[in-house]
C-alpha cells in the first residue's frame, strides 16, 4: 500500500508529489475506531470525579464566588466557531471529491483556508496579549495531573491535582491542533501561490520541485491528520459528560458548581487579573 505519491520531475529526479488517499481512509478509520472504542469504554468505565459531597463542601466554602463564571470571552468564542466553520469547509472541500462527490472545490478551499489563517493569527495575538497564554499548554509541570487523571480513569480515588482552566485532554488536543493546524496553514499559504487567485501573481517556480513535493505532502499529512482529530473533537463535544464544556463555548460561562467540580481553584483562581476567571457578564 502506497502512503506517499512520487513523480518524476522534468529533470528526471524522483520527487514527492502527494500523500496517498489511503492515508485519508486510515485517518477516517482511526477516528471512528477511537470514537467507538472510547464510547464502549465509557459505558463501563469507573472514572472517578470529585465526589458530590466534596463538591458540596467546596461550594459551601466558596459562597463568595459568582453563580456564573466566565470561561470563554466573546472574542475567544467567535474565534473558535469561525475556525470550526473554516475547518469543516476545508475538510469537506478537500475530501468529499476523494470519496466521490465531485464539485469545483478549489476556490472554496482556499477561501476557507484564508479565513482559517486569519482566525489563527487573531487567536495568537488575542491569546498572547489578552489571555493567559500558558494556561492551554502542557509541560513537565502537568505530570502529576496526568498521573492523577490516569488513575481516576481506572477507578482510583486519588487526591492529586485537578485541572486549571483547561482539562488535560483539552491541552493535549490543543497541542495536536497547533502542530497540524500550523503545518496545514503554512503549507497552504505557499500552495496558494500556485493557484489562480486575485491575491497573488502566480509563481509556480517559488520552490524547486522537491521542495514543492515536501510542501504538498506536509499539507496532505496534516490534512488527513485533521480528519481524525476533528472526529475526536466533535465526539467529545457531544458527549454528555463533556457537554458543560461545549455549552461554555457557546454561552461563555460555567456554573460555580461546575467550576468547583472540575477545576482546581488554586490553578484557576476566580476574581483577579487577566488569567483568572471572572464573573460572567463582566468585561
Amino acid at each position: 500500500m502506497d502512503l506517499l505519491k512520487w513523480g518524476r520531475s522534468p529533470w528526471g529526479e524522483w520527487v514527492l508529489t502527494h500523500v496517498s488517499w489511503n492515508l485519508f481512509w486510515g485517518s477516517l478509520f482511526a477516528g471512528v475506531l477511537f470514537l467507538v472504542a472510547h464510547a464502549s469504554y465509557m459505558l463501563f468505565s469507573a472514572h472517578r470525579k470529585r465526589a458530590a459531597a466534596e463538591t458540596d463542601a467546596l461550594e459551601a466554602s466558596h459562597k463568595d464566588l459568582p453563580v456564573k463564571i466566565e470561561r470563554h470571552g466573546l472574542a475567544a468564542r467567535l474565534f473558535h466557531w469561525v475556525m470550526a466553520a473554516a475547518m469543516f469547509v476545508l475538510l469537506f472541500t478537500a475530501f468529499l471529491p476523494v470519496v466521490g462527490v465531485k464539485f469545483p472545490w478549489v476556490q472554496w478551499h482556499w477561501i476557507a483556508g484564508l479565513v482559517l489563517t486569519a482566525s489563527i493569527v487573531f487567536h495568537i495575538i488575542h491569546a498572547t496579549f489578552w489571555l493567559d497564554f500558558w494556561s492551554i499548554w502542557v509541560g513537565p509541570k502537568d505530570i502529576p495531573e496526568f498521573k492523577a487523571e490516569l488513575l481516576r480513569e481506572f477507578g482510583h480515588d486519588v487526591p492529586g491535582p485537578k485541572s486549571g482552566k483547561y482539562p488535560l485532554g483539552n491541552r493535549l488536543y490543543h497541542l495536536a491542533i497547533v502542530v497540524t493546524g500550523l503545518a496545514v496553514v503554512a503549507t497552504g499559504m505557499f500552495m496558494l501561490v500556485r493557484v489562480r487567485t486575485p491575491l497573488f501573481i502566480r509563481n509556480p517556480y517559488l520552490f524547486r520541485d522537491s521542495t514543492w513535493g515536501v510542501t504538498y505532502v506536509t499539507h496532505g499529512l496534516a490534512g488527513v491528520g485533521l480528519v481524525g482529530l476533528v472526529i475526536a473533537h466533535v465526539y467529545f463535544a457531544v458527549r454528555p459528560e463533556k457537554w458543560w464544556i461545549t455549552k461554555s463555548m457557546i454561552l461563555g460561562w460555567i456554573t460555580r458548581r461546575q467550576y468547583l467540580e472540575h477545576h482546581e481553584p488554586s490553578r484557576w483562581p476566580v476574581g483577579h487579573g487577566p488569567s483568572q476567571a471572572k464573573p460572567a457578564g463582566r468585561v
Binding site: 505519491k5 518524476r8 508529489t17 465531485k102 489562480r196
Partner: protein, 338 residues
C-alpha cells in the same frame, strides 16, 4: 519524458464480441484496462509508453456499437461508428448537417476512416506537456507546466482553467452539444444517459479526467433528438494546418428562426476550455433579434467576456469573438462539405 518507440509495452489484448463481455473485462481490470476504439489516441499513449495497461479492450468486434439508426425523428449513432460513415450518412447530411461538417473537419480522410465518433468525443487532451509525460496535475502531479511564466501555451485554455489549462480538442463535441445530443453509457449497474453538456468535465470537477466515464463504463451510443433537425447550422474550425490538425478554436451553432428574427439558438465553442463551452449568455442575448451584423457583433463581444489569457494564447480571444460573430451572422465560407 515521452520517447516514441517502435515497440509498445506488453499487454493482454481482449477483443470481446459484445458490450456485456467488454464491461466484464473493464470491471475485472478497472483502471488497469485501456479501451481501444479507433486507436488513434490510444496508440499514441502506448507508443510513448506513458500508459502501460495490463489489458487492452478492443471494441472493434462489437457489432452493436456500430452503425447509425433512425429513432424518434432523430438518430442513434453507435459509438464505434467511423467518422467517415457519419459524414456520408444521408440523414446526417439532410437533417443534422452540422455534425457532418464537424466530422468532416476531423483530421485526414485516413484518420476519419479509422477514427470513431465515440473516440473523437472521448479523446484525451492534446496538451503537449501532459502528452509528453510531464508529471503535471492531470497526470497526478502538483503543477501545470503549461501555466508557468515560460510555458509554451499557444493551444491552451482561455476559460475555466482550474490549475490545469488543457483544452478539449474534439470537433464533433461542440456539434453534438449544439444538437442537444445525449450520451448513452453502459456500466456494471446498467445504462445511464447523460446530456452532451454533462458528458465532459473540467479540471475543477476532476483534474485527471475529460469526461464522466468511469473505468468500468463504456460510451455505447450517441442519441441526437429531432428537436434541432433542419435548423440553420454553422460550423467553423480554425487550425494551423488546413489539411490535418486539431482546432485552435472551433464553433458550432444551431439556430431556429422565428420570422425574421432568431427564435432559438444553441452556440458552442471548443478548444477554449477543458469542456465544450456552451454560450448560454449569448444565446439568451440573441434570441428575438434579427440575424444581422449588429447582433453578431454583440454576440461576439459577449462570448469572450471573462476570458483569461496565458502568455501565448491571447490570439484566441479575437479568434473566438470573430468565430461567434460569423456563426451568428451566418457568414458563408466557414463551413464546407465534400
Amino acid at each position: 519524458m515521452a520517447v516514441i518507440r517502435d515497440i509498445i509495452p506488453a499487454f493482454e489484448l481482449y477483443q470481446p464480441q459484445s458490450v456485456d463481455d467488454a464491461l466484464r473485462l473493464l470491471d475485472k481490470f478497472g483502471a488497469d484496462a485501456l479501451v481501444l476504439a479507433g486507436g488513434l489516441d490510444s496508440m499514441d499513449w502506448l507508443k510513448d509508453r506513458l500508459k502501460r495497461p495490463k489489458a487492452v479492450v478492443d471494441l472493434g468486434q462489437i457489432k452493436e456499437l456500430h452503425g447509425i439508426r433512425e429513432a424518434n425523428g432523430g438518430l442513434e449513432i453507435g459509438a464505434m461508428t467511423p467518422l467517415t460513415e457519419v459524414v456520408k450518412h444521408p440523414v446526417v447530411r439532410e437533417k443534422f448537417s452540422i455534425l457532418m461538417q464537424a466530422a468532416e473537419l476531423v483530421a485526414s480522410p485516413q484518420i476519419r476512416n479509422q477514427g470513431t465518433i465515440g473516440g473523437n468525443v472521448s479523446q484525451d487532451t492534446r496538451c503537449w506537456y501532459y502528452r509528453g509525460g510531464w508529471n503535471c496535475y492531470r497526470a497526478g502531479g502538483n503543477i501545470c507546466y503549461a501555466d508557468t511564466p515560460t510555458a509554451i501555451n499557444r493551444e491552451h485554455a482561455i476559460f475555466d482553467a482550474d490549475r490545469c489549462v488543457a483544452v478539449n480538442p474534439s470537433d464533433t463535441a461542440p456539434a453534438l452539444v449544439a444538437l442537444d445530443a445525449q450520451m448513452v453509457i453502459r456500466g456494471p449497474k446498467g445504462e445511464r444517459v447523460v446530456g452532451a453538456e454533462e458528458y465532459w468535465i473540467g479540471p475543477g470537477i476532476d483534474i485527471t479526467k475529460m469526461n464522466v466515464l468511469q473505468p468500468n463504463e463504456l460510451l455505447t451510443a450517441i442519441r441526437i433528438p429531432g428537436t434541432m433537425a433542419g435548423a440553420q447550422f454553422y460550423f467553423e474550425k480554425v487550425r494551423d494546418r488546413q489539411v490535418w490538425d486539431f482546432p485552435l478554436v472551433n464553433v458550432a451553432a444551431a439556430i431556429k428562426p422565428n420570422g425574421s428574427n432568431i427564435g432559438e439558438a444553441r452556440l458552442v465553442v471548443n478548444a477554449v476550455a477543458a469542456i465544450p463551452r456552451r454560450l448560454k449568455n449569448v444565446e439568451t442575448a440573441i434570441v428575438g433579434k434579427p440575424r444581422n451584423e449588429e447582433t453578431a457583433k454583440m454576440a461576439g463581444d459577449l462570448a469572450v467576456q471573462g476570458a483569461q489569457v496565458l502568455r501565448h494564447n491571447g490570439y484566441k480571444v479575437p479568434l473566438m469573438r470573430n468565430l461567434v460573430k460569423r456563426a451568428v451572422r451566418g457568414s458563408e465560407g466557414g463551413a464546407w462539405t465534400s
